[in-house]
Amino acid sequence: MIIVYIEAVNGQLKKSSLEVLTYGKKMADKMSSSVAAICLTSCDANAVGEYGVGKLFQVNDDKFNHFDSKAFAKAIGEIFNANGGQILVLPFNQNGKALAPRLSVRLQAGLVNGANALAETSDGFVISKNVFSGKAVANYKIHTEKKIISLASNSIPAVKNPTSCEVVTAATSITAADFSTKYIKSELVSGDIPLSEADLVVSAGRGLKGPENWGMIEECAKILGAATACSRAVADVHWRPHHEHVGQTGLAISPNLYIAVGISGAIQHLAGVSSSKTIVVINTDPEAPFFKAADYGIVGDAFEVMPKFNEALRKLKF
């Protein structure tokens, strides 16, 4: 049995959860196995069925309203073991990054954290993942009987494959004593698309000359329904908030489209974005290293190009 761990916000499944549902269904088909999902909070079972997973272990317990890696890992491990789990799939998101390693120890299961493709099962159980910040791919063989895969976001597109979903109410032994952290508050950046989940990202750097010039970047993001990002240089001088910083020390992202405006493409920046599917670079310097990593480019001044770019986007379909 393949079991996928999914998460919902206000009952709606996160995009990364739709991807792991798709992944679990594909692995089950490939291995002639079955697949089920675990959700520790309430979520829409129909949505689970829509992505091809016909069984949902649902825990209805208010204790799980706030994330705690210790209690959550224990609960997931219990349900996984009680239902004959062999392969556990989690999203490689903020929570998944904390849960998967814990579960590797708890279940004595080999882990590939950040997998980017389906497992190959012709010779053992082998899964690829990006290493050296996208400069290479490593093929990991998992030797243990139980296996854990956490799936990097945007590695496989979520695919609908509708089936009916049976909801099984799952019990756990978790008590308040299993929780080791106390939730105080969350500070969300309102109205924005979370950068880590975004399909489309518009990013800018020092080439914009000052924070007052970001209007055209935000406009572009709005037309596209994209998230905004920035280089380290501009986050460090507070032109843009830190949570927008992508790169080696910031967030690593892999959207379908990454548009870089006025960013030279230093190796530390590329480390965070090079696994994007399509990269567009707009820069005045034809020698900017970013052009070597780009799919499309314009050598030109952002102040001249962006208004035209936004106008063309609007004309296209928006």
Binding site: A98, P101, A109, K141, I184, H243
Partner: protein, 248 residues
């Protein structure tokens, strides 16, 4: 309060990544190694700041790796750590056993707070911190950008999708550090001199059955050359993104 800070050595950010033995092993020929940036800049420096603020306790740095890694631990001592532990093993020991060694050391020596960087920049696995916590049956908070202590209680900001969450946790706990937690400290001459006489203990790793291993490395798929458009062809670029790349 005693802090155990886990530090890795990793190829320098600008190092050429190459492989040998039919692409089964990383080639370290000509590679310069550095302390993993998030370990050094954030985990270590914040532990030092909190120890200094408390006016008591110590900061120990620990590495699991080859016997030559003492030079990287000496750098951490020069930045300000009080002592260092090197658990000798192969450099490519898998995260499960690295974590097990560190957790065993932490438990045996009474460390209630263990800190790692959020990830190492070589294998990008985000794994060791969570594994240590599970071995210690302790709390684990990942990707922490702000960390304050009040007695034995920590207040932490952790990254979540689209923002941050503020939580409190009591010792024992493990956290993984990211940008925002502290600013890089450069070792000064006094620190470098003092580092030479600070204690550095060497122990031997135990290891165990393989959980995961790397079969083979691949180069990333080569990028085709960039398609350039002139400033007057912006509409053609948008059309290409729509019709050819099919991303908008």
């Amino acid at each position: 309060m005693n802090f155990l800070v886990c530090v890795s050595k990793v190829p320098d950010t600008t190092a050429k990544i190459a492989f040998k033995d039919n692409n089964t092993k990383f080639s370290s020929d000509g590679v310069t190694y550095i302390l993993n940036p998030t370990d050094e800049w954030y985990a270590l420096v914040r532990a030092l700041e909190l120890k200094e603020a408390a006016g008591a306790g110590k900061v120990t740095v620990i590495n699991v790796g080859s016997s030559e890694n003492d030079q990287y631990l000496r750098k951490a001592l020069a930045i300000g750590a009080d002592d260092a532990v090197l658990i000798e093993s192969a450099d490519d020991l898998e995260p499960f056993y690295v974590a097990k060694e560190i957790a065993n050391y932490a438990k045996a020596n009474g460390y209630d707070i263990v800190i790692t960087g959020k990830e190492t920049i070589d294998y990008n696995s985000f794994s060791v911190g969570g594994m240590i916590a599970e071995f210690m049956d302790a709390a684990f908070v990942s990707q922490v950008s702000k960390w304050d202590m009040n007695g034995t209680t920590a207040t932490l900001n952790r990254e979540i999708e689209g923002g941050e969450e503020v939580i409190e946790v009591n010792v024992p706990f493990v956290i993984s550090a990211q940008k925002g937690m502290a600013e890089q400290r450069l070792p000064n001459m006094k620190g470098i001199m003092m580092a030479k006489s600070k204690p550095l203990t060497k122990l031997a790793a135990v290891g165990g059955d393989t959980f995961v291993s790397i079969n083979k490395f691949d180069e990333p798929k080569p990028k085709s050359a960039v398609k350039l458009f002139s400033v007057d062809e912006v509409e053609a670029l948008v059309k290409a993104l729509h019709d050819e790349a099919k991303v908008i």
